[in-house]
Symmetry: C2
Subunit: 421 residues, 2 copies
């Protein structure tokens, strides 16, 4: 259906104009209508599971023929359980608290004007993502519930799956009487369309890249639209001298090894040299089949420890590898974290409340934890429901971003004829 003479800029401008109109309609739609749309979309996903799986099978076949890695193929592949999980995710968004209309603050000025700040939709959101086709449903559901129109641009390897999932979402939305243009999928996998999306500041209020580092880097480099992005998760767990030994072993193994590929995984363990159970921590990691890269002091604790290079302290492994360093107490731990952290999630393990509070105050990261596993760094675990992503930026929203992060606010002034002197 694409006009072959249409440039990517023309395509995105046309989609952007339709998205803006849909966003205006959504802003005045009731929350009940949005909930209805999500429930119908979830049902459409379930009803159309055969078509979605057939489309996905074509994508997987193509991708395998094109030599996509097994890890990428796994991300791409859907089965009945994954389609059901995707539909259930959309249903979950429908039961979250409505973020819109919430009064952030309210005051009466001395001249009698009543002033309030109220949450409203952000507008039009662009999502650029890679192989996971469930993002098509997840991201659309979150954007819609927060009153936003969304333009989705998925990876070329998932194009058939994304079309099928998008069709189900659009059907549910239209059945609820909302504009189907509220959720649009860029119909071409031409890379130039991404460039056009990144520059469409007239039409798009926020871009959220979801994918690997090279995608995020390209988006940050090229975007003329604000970006909510996730960079590295070089997360630290610091075991203080006053830590409970059993808790420390249990937390460190969980923080590193529960799932090594998620952004909340601990990548560096700092241990107070005064902590007697340091060898037990290193042993537990090694026994859990984690490669331990340590400084000389850590190598002395267990012969299986290999030498860490300078680079290790700045590496996000996303694998069963950890760097471990013995430090001279809290101050050296804080210095190490200030120098090497990616400001994502960092934790202290200690029974000393004063030291814990010092750590919570001093560490400048999106999430700072005391006696908890860094693997909890997740919107669902934080009670936010599904997340659109974890922001490592400092503006607008930091850490897990869910519905509230997809809103903005406006100031309402209710007067009785006040003029400014």
């Amino acid at each position: 259906m694409n006009d072959l003479t249409q440039t990517p800029e023309m395509l995105i401008a046309a989609m952007g104009a339709r998205a803006r109109a849909a966003a205006t309609a959504l802003a005045s739609a009731s929350d009940a209508q949005k909930i209805d749309a999500l429930r119908r979309a979830a049902q459409a996903l379930r009803d159309q599971a055969p078509q979605i799986l057939a489309a996905n099978a074509r994508d997987v076949e193509n991708a395998a023929a094109n030599g996509l890695s097994p890890a990428m193929l796994d991300r791409l592949r859907l089965d009945e359980a994954r389609v059901e999980a995707t539909a259930a995710g959309v249903d979950q968004v429908a039961i979250l608290d409505n973020p819109l209309g919430r009064i952030i603050d309210k005051q009466v000025r001395p001249n009698g004007m009543e002033l309030s700040r109220v949450r409203v939709p952000l507008g039009v959101i662009g999502i650029i993502y890679e192989s996971r086709p469930n993002v098509t449903a997840d991201a659309a559901a979150l954007c819609l519930r927060a009153g936003n129109a969304v333009i989705l641009r998925g990876g070329s390897e998932a194009k058939e799956s994304n079309r099928a999932i998008h069709a189900a979402m659009a059907e549910g939305i239209a059945a609820a009487g909302l504009p189907a243009d509220a959720v649009q999928l860029v119909p071409t996998t031409d890379r130039a369309a991404v460039g056009a999306l990144l520059k469409a500041s007239d039409f798009i209020d926020l871009i959220v890249p979801r994918g690997g580092k090279s995608l995020v880097a390209r988006v940050q480099e090229e975007a003329r639209v604000p970006v909510l992005a996730h960079l590295d998760g070089i997360n630290h767990s610091y075991v203080d001298g006053a830590a409970d030994p059993d808790m420390a072993v249990k937390l460190i193994v969980n923080a590193k090894m529960r799932r090594t590929g998620i952004c909340g995984a601990t990548e560096t363990v700092l241990i107070d040299q005064a902590f007697a159970a340091a060898p037990a921590i290193v042993k537990a990691l090694l026994d859990a089949k984690c490669e331990v890269r340590g400084d000389a002091a850590v190598q002395a604790l267990d012969e299986r420890v290999v030498a860490a290079s300078d680079e290790d302290w700045d590496t996000e492994y996303l694998d069963a590898i950890v760097s471990v360093r013995l430090v001279d107490g809290l101050d050296e731990a804080l210095s190490h974290i200030a120098a090497h952290a990616s400001h994502h999630t960092d934790a202290i393990i200690t029974e000393d409340a004063q030291k814990a509070e010092r750590f919570l105050n001093a560490v400048d990261s999106a999430i700072v934890m005391w006696n908890a596993s860094t693997q909890f760094a997740d919107g669902g675990e934080f009670g936010l429901g599904a997340e659109i992503g974890i922001s490592t930026g400092r503006l607008h929203a930091r850490g897990p971003v869910a519905l509230e992060g997809l809103t903005t606010y406006k100031w309402l002034v209710r007067g009785t004829g006040q003029t400014r002197p």
Copy 2:
């Protein structure tokens, strides 16, 4: 003192590294210390008024020789009263509520983890501004109180004034035991330094341009750092058919004419054709020496009205000129505003509360008013104290931005050994 072989990038990187170190020190400084720094800085401004005025006289002399316009010369020129007002402005920032450490929300998760979001400094802020030298003190004071380091880059025409004001601020800050690098002034007026600042995403967390449209446009075009910017204020006041005639006349004259050059001034007046006092409004504007550009219906109301062109509906005059249009009730007013507003400040004047609430909900602007003058669009009038600017963007902060907008938050998790299942 500048090394002539130093590139602008090297200069900004060196300043940025010092700013980052100062921001770290500020983050752990007490609020009392920041207040003390501001009080000492205000006193230093008063004590050094003779030097500041002498520096300013040199700037004004140069600028006049270079043919700067009278309006720009007026912005540049300081006298004793303006220096005192600048010092008083710094004192005002010292009495605002501390934005840091405020708990945004707090919850206990089912597994017992306590989760809270707490306001913390944003980090390092870059301010790029034009001829008004008082910005050197105003912006520095706001950034400092919110715990941020700031890099200031003022206009070349104000360089001597800025240096003198900066010297007083730095002296006050150092006297309070805080790092003088918390407030740095770019020592060169080379335009390439602005470019380097706009790309220094490793060192700078937010850029705030303060100046005319060409400055803001350049910053938005070139910046690789997030920007908090103010674009147009094409503000509307809509006089509904159910408006009180006296209130309507009074509000419209104030909204347009109190000060025509501020961003909150009304630029377009929409009047319900059913409003009987429409001629009185047009007459009052004309009598107040405002040029009225109207459609045919408005021209029929008073012979002094000139014809509006299509362009007028999209023009921010910042002058004693207004465009006036008769509309067919609230719906047409909303359509006009959706098509032409710059999403800054728009108002309805009516005695009909239902229509007012519809307007407040439907208009997608940073500030939406009912029965009040758009000239109130100002951080001071909103009780925020001094403002760093009024944001017309939708991310992070919208409308008047003061201390809170110069902060971010972090998530604190306090556990008792929880691991993620």
